[in-house]
Amino acid sequence: MDYFLTDEQKTIKSLARQIAEERVLPVRAELDEKEEFPWDIMRELGSSDMFRVFIPEEYEGLGGGCLELCLVVEELSRVCSGVAVSYAASALGCMTLMEYGTDEQKRIFLPGIASGEKIGAFAVTESTAGSDISNIKTTAEKVEGGYLLNGTKQFITNGGEAAIYTVIALTDKTRGARGASAIIVEKDTPGFIFGKKEKKMGIRSSATRELVFKNCLVPEENLLGKPGLGFIQALRLFDKSRPGIGAQAVGLAQGALEAAVDYAEQRVQFDQHIINIQAVQHMLADMAIQTEAARALVYAAARHVDSGAKSVTEESSMSKVFASDTAMKVATDAVQICGGSGYMRDYPVEKMMRDAKILQIYEGTNQVLRNTIALNLRKRKGRTA
């Protein structure tokens, strides 16, 4: 289907596909098996300018937006969702900086991320604060010379690998969520250490790790925007980043669909290729319909974000929920079509099904996002513009 992408967007998508097929595909099973962070691929993405895609031109980026980021994430995820999220999380790690940072802050941190030399990460989740993200406990106490961080962040994508972390911490405990602020913490800051690296069901090449702050002193000039706005900044960030998770889901569904069609084309049972069996054909047709619908919604939501629209919460949530539910369904059906072989690690759909599950969980569980959508639905009484 023609989504009327510009020449530049087509170039980005096609180069991302080339990288995925030539550099990711040969190693994806090994990366998954060894739970190894894909540094070689990150460097390749860097030298191909893929990290420049989402950075403004004045900070050595290419000035793209949400849609351009989605195109790269989709193509990487079509081959390996673990690689895709490692890439996307670097964008997540600097989006608050891009929106609220001063020119000076952007000049210091963005060029390194644009070149791929440095990777970014975003840290809000804690053991007490998952869906209930306002319940964070990490503090950033204002002291002489900066902010003193104490606390532990959990399940942080790119934890340990990233060089630049955007951390949400309480600068004023007494004010609860209204006392949270976003602060940049660089790797190797004294008092900033890495805890447990998680063993995961899927996206196993990506790094998910605890960040531990023990009297970690961060310069005052690393605070993003005004103190007390951290919670709002985080919510706004996720509003804009959710189409990226949608794109990850679309890519995964596309990869699973392709694998299922390939298998059905060559698998012979009852003296015929199983793609000739109508029961299989209908499953494949449904998978194709759902994947394309998810893609259309994700691109539309990404364009809505890029339009500078004031409110994008509902649209971005819809794209994330629909696409991730689609990815889970399509990956499950792909395993079903591949039968016993599909359940084996020698076939890619087994990994895709494991990878798909997290998409319904992170960056807002699909249940929490449905609450958000319902809330907006009540506000607009179900009417569209």
Partner: protein, 261 residues
């Protein structure tokens, strides 16, 4: 350092088809690509520039559509590209090709190292590199698998030979041909692709080169392709019959008859 890379655009397949009526290669429906060995040459040139500074100039002889290979070269890191294109250059053998390339090198005037792929995947001769060095009267090293060191007017390389490797030192300027073992070519960059789309491609015709028409193209070729054909492949197997002793005797007779034992 002035680095020059020689490049050819070739059909992107080794499964060539021949039109039996015209005895020529069927090019329809086959995408043209940068000769894979030349991609290693370009990558090595770009790496040398990244390490030692200077610039990489890619020179390609071919029809006007070879421009797409040169745009790709820019996306992969080439600074300057020159297309040598003229009807007079057409149907050149390796000698006339090397003559044309050497005339271009002389016009460039300044080069420290000229890097070629070890051979093309269409002609497969591996002759253009050494012929070019001869015509320029500079040293030549073939099948280079690693550039060990470059210092002012001095180069040390490792080359592949049948028994292993040789380390060779040579003066600069020099011509080398590279084997695929030398590097893993990078993928293009987005900025490179965007630059390549608007880049000016310099084209030199025979009028730009100090060379007479009878030195280049078909007229300047010492060899000519009379006919292109697929070798007849005959697979004939014979199953020997009779009991084991009879089969062994028959086999020995046959081998003796063929002077094989």
């Amino acid at each position: 350092m002035n680095i020059v890379v020689c490049m050819k655009q070739v059909p992107g397949t080794t499964q060539v088809k021949i039109n039996p009526e015209t005895n020529s290669l069927v090019r329809e429906g086959i995408e043209n690509i940068i000769n894979p060995f030349d991609a290693y040459a370009l990558e090595e040139g770009v790496r040398l520039r990244e390490k030692y500074g200077g610039k990489v100039t890619v020179v390609c002889m071919g029809p006007p559509q070879a421009e797409s290979a040169l745009r790709e070269a820019i996306s992969l890191g080439a600074d300057d590209v020159i297309l040598l294109s003229d009807r007079a250059f057409a149907v050149a053998d390796t000698w006339a090709t090397a003559r044309t390339l050497s005339a271009a090198m002389k016009k460039l005037a300044s080069y420290d190292i000229i890097i070629c792929g070890r051979q093309t995947i269409d002609g497969d001769t591996g002759q253009v590199g050494p012929e070019l060095a001869e015509m320029l009267e500079v040293p030549f090293v073939a099948y280079v698998s690693n550039i060990e060191e470059i210092k002012e007017s001095y180069l040390r390389v490792r080359r592949m030979v049948e028994e292993g490797h040789e380390i060779i030192e040579t003066s600069l300027p020099t011509v080398i041909t590279v084997a695929k073992e030398i590097n893993v070519p990078r993928l293009p960059s987005l900025r490179g692709i965007m630059k390549s789309k608007n880049a000016a491609i310099t084209t030199w015709t025979i009028a730009d080169l100090n060379v007479s028409p009878d030195m280049v193209g078909l007229a300047g070729s010492s060899t000519q392709v009379i006919k292109i054909f697929f070798p007849q492949r005959v697979h004939r197997a014979e199953i020997l019959e009779g009991d084991l002793d009879t089969q062994v005797d028959t086999l020995i007779d046959r081998l003796k008859g063929a002077n094989l034992c």
